[in-house]
């Protein structure tokens, strides 16, 4: 399950980001984002489209480089005042693993190939061992018999579950999910959320960008509401959903839940 180098630092947090800024040309997308995640907890990131949630998540994995701010995951600390080098980015890739909105599975590899390529080709693990682990993980999400299939022959929900297994197989210290269900047909959403709920119960540390407020309410330990590149409000789901403090949060929740929603 979650790997061992997840020891919390002195502040008791697995992840702590401070003052993340990022601009794309004139577009100032992140305007000082703070994020704290304690080990073994699930942190939901919600907010309107374009508010910077994906950019934050990508920054945590080293796929995007903030212009300023600092980040600590486990015992890896990076100050973005100086652009991180190849080694630091590699360490970020290693510290967390991401499940993408559009799964981004490798279409020329089988399901098993998708899951083992990281452990075998990057981490240098023994192929037989990595294969056994991969099959066990696939079994857990009900896809063991699809090991030799190509991604294109799977349903959207199955593809996303393979995406989750690919991330798990990397043995990261935490998991990042970027709207893992928002490109799925409604009837396929449940199977993916069920897997994520199990992972949370197993004690994985997770950051989840989601529009599934039900999932955030039930599974998340903490919720951050993003708007225009900052975290406007954060709190326990019961508090944030039940009694939001900020006007912007209220408006967003009302819009999302609709006139008839709960």
């Amino acid at each position: 399950m979650p790997s061992e180098h997840t020891d919390a630092a002195a502040d008791g947090l697995l992840l702590s980001a401070r003052g993340l800024h990022k601009s794309f040309g004139e577009n100032h997308v992140l305007r000082g984002v703070d994020l704290d995640i304690a080990p073994g907890t699930v942190h939901a990131l919600i907010g309107p489209s374009g508010s910077g949630k994906t950019t934050v998540l990508r920054s945590l994995n080293g796929l995007e480089t903030p212009d300023a701010g600092s980040l600590r995951i486990g015992d890896l600390a990076i100050d973005f005042a100086r652009p991180p080098g190849r080694r630091e980015r590699a360490a970020l890739h290693r510290a967390s693993a991401m499940v993408f909105q559009q799964h981004h599975l490798f279409p020329h590899l089988t399901v098993l190939g998708n899951v083992t390529i990281g452990p075998v080709r990057v981490q240098g693990r023994d192929r037989d061992e990595a294969t056994a682990d991969a099959l066990a993980l696939l079994d857990r999400v009900g896809l063991r018999e699809k090991a030799d299939a190509y991604p294109s022959s799977l349903s959207g929900g199955q593809q996303q579950r393979v995406g989750i297994v690919r991330a798990l197989a990397l043995a990261p210290s935490m998991l990042l999910f970027d709207e893992p269900t928002s490109s799925l047909d409604p009837e396929l959403v449940g199977e993916v959320l069920a897997v994520m709920t199990e992972l949370a119960a197993d004690g994985w540390t997770m950051a989840v960008v989601t529009h599934e407020l039900g999932f955030a309410r039930e599974v998340a330990d903490e919720v951050s509401f993003f708007d225009e590149g900052v975290v406007v409000e954060r709190g326990a789901p019961a508090q944030l959903f039940g009694d939001p403090r900020h006007e912007r949060t209220k408006r967003f929740l009302q819009r999302l839940q609709g006139p008839f929603g709960g």
Partner: protein, 218 residues
Amino acid sequence: MNWQLVLDSLGPIALGAITGTIPLTLASFSLGLLIAIGMALMRISGIAWLSAVARGYISVIRGTPMLVQLFVIFYGMPQIGITLDPWPSAIIALSLNVGGYAAEIIRAAILSIPRGQWEAAAMVGMSRGQALWRIVLPQAARVSVPPLSNTFISLVKDTSLASVILVTELFRVAQRIAAPSGEFLTIYIVAAVVYWVICLVLAGGQDRLERRLDRYAV
């Protein structure tokens, strides 16, 4: 039509294909593909001077006739002290040519692979080189099979140009048989039919290859 002559000439012409045209095609295509991959990578390297060198190369190759390229290498180079035999001259000219055309095909194929594939590869921990080799190039290869097959088939036909620098391939054999007999029409039609059969076989192979690769079509 002189059917006896058809039968008599078919043997030597087919032999010319087997010992000349086909090895010339295979050697030039393999070398050309290596050049093309190199040029395509230079083009997308993001390093200005590398990209400029590759662009210049591709522009010269595509903007000049292959026959002229052959003449420069075989008849021109000796003047600056580089004398090459017909075979190496032909292989060099033909592979440089393939390199120029295939480079653009491969570059387009690499660029057609979605950015998400590079990102997923990075997420998994791969370096850019690993991502290119293990994730992007295999998918780009799939995309470039149809256009590269066309390049390959054109190359088979272009090898006939090597006859003008005295490479003993299919067409030169045909010329040598035709001249003394005076039966130009018959002999050249036989030569054309042999080229056509080779290309038919290749087109069939292209079909099968594409169907096989379709297994993992997105």
